[in-house]
């Protein structure tokens, strides 16, 4: 069997101007190599509609999978979703499933879901959402292109939920709980719990919101029952530790 191939597209003026050092290429390269997927090419383009469209078309035609990083936030220079839709001639607009995720997230966090943030619910028709356990706003897969955030913690979390579906395995499921404390406080019991569930993976993503530290704990696996059991154990553990 021939190994599947991949290409990466990093989108962002901040990388090309040298303001930011890209961290996602190195992470993706290692994750793919570990799974027998060959990364054949990577490109970095600026926040330019035509440049993104051209690169998406070229790479999606030459590799089995394309991973993009950057340009899916709420600001005017976040144009990746529209460009990827254009590359495939797909319609794009605010989609109900993505809007529901954002509505739930912003209600829970007490922040306003304003027009700018609502832009993050713009998803091409026919795309499958990619779960974002860190900050809710989803990525998406359209044809063979996986569109993900540029912030490394979010890119990594999205990639973790996409990768298992690429190698022909069972779909990866996840559940999340939000804990009102720093991850340093729960790291040790979390590690012990993870050891009890060798078939599941446990991710921890720290954040600070309105001056308070918190951590999102994500449990991933292919067995919904096992994930449920782990989430119950995790909830007990967090309350008692």
């Amino acid at each position: 069997m021939t190994n599947p191939t991949a290409a990466m597209l990093v989108i962002g003026d901040e990388i090309l101007s040298g303001r930011t050092r890209d961290a996602n290429m190195y992470h993706l390269a290692n994750e793919l190599t570990g799974r027998g997927i060959k990364l054949r090419e990577a490109r970095v383009v600026s926040d330019d509609h035509d440049a993104i469209v051209a690169a998406v078309r070229a790479l999606s035609g030459s590799a089995d999978h394309v991973f993009t990083s950057g340009g899916i936030g709420p600001t005017h220079d976040d144009i990746t979703a529209d460009a990827v839709a254009d590359a495939f001639g797909a319609a794009i607009g605010i989609r109900d499933d993505a809007r529901a995720i954002l509505t739930e997230h912003y209600q829970r966090t007490g922040l306003e879901l304003n027009d700018a943030r609502l832009r993050m619910a713009r998803i091409p028709d026919g795309a499958v959402l990619i779960n974002n356990p860190v900050s809710a706003a989803p990525g998406f897969t359209l044809a063979n292109v996986h569109v993900m955030a540029g912030v490394p913690a979010i890119f990594q979390a999205m990639l973790a939920s996409v990768l298992p579906s690429l190698t022909g395995g069972d779909p990866l499921l996840s559940q999340m709980i939000d804990v009102n404390r720093g991850e340093g406080e729960i790291a040790t019991p979390l590690k012990a719990l993870a050891a009890q569930f060798p078939d599941l993976s446990f991710g921890s993503y720290p954040y600070q919101r309105d001056g308070a530290y918190g951590t999102q704990l994500v449990v991933r696996g292919t067995d919904a029952g096992q994930i449920g059991t782990a989430i119950i154990a995790l909830t007990k553990l967090v309350k008692s530790s």
Copy 2:
């Protein structure tokens, strides 16, 4: 005056496999930005003749300058020089000026100039040598393509000797303010402000640092006065929104 444009081509399986983290793109991006040269695109390709030829042709046609990194050492997988020659239909062989540099270097260091090392004197006809103060083996410039080593110390030294010969545009200036809130909260007023300054570019970069979320707002352009005016307006806007 229009600023010159540049593209980068990183060559090496070790980057795409995740064995090595590329360090040259970030360095080049900063050096070019400081000289008013706009890096428009970067690509990473594997040690594959056809892939290098295709990328060199594409990038040399779309940018004023192309900078390559990697693949000019003594081993069998160092095929960049031949591929660049091929891209331009130039003949290539061991050139006397390059051989003289290597002969002097290896005599001085007491090492043997064997056949493998002599491969580093393969330079396309018509190319101008790039000085390598670190390890002697030269890079070269053919047409608008500057071919340099992948080892960061050597890449940087070669770049330092190439850059002064390039015609710079107006230096690209930037100013930044750091805002203690998520970018979603300021996206709408930021877009309105950006529309008032068509000659400037506005970037917004969310980050997480020590558990705290924030956003860096960067204003870029070539007119320091205009940038200053924009930064004052931006500061007011952030305080009032």
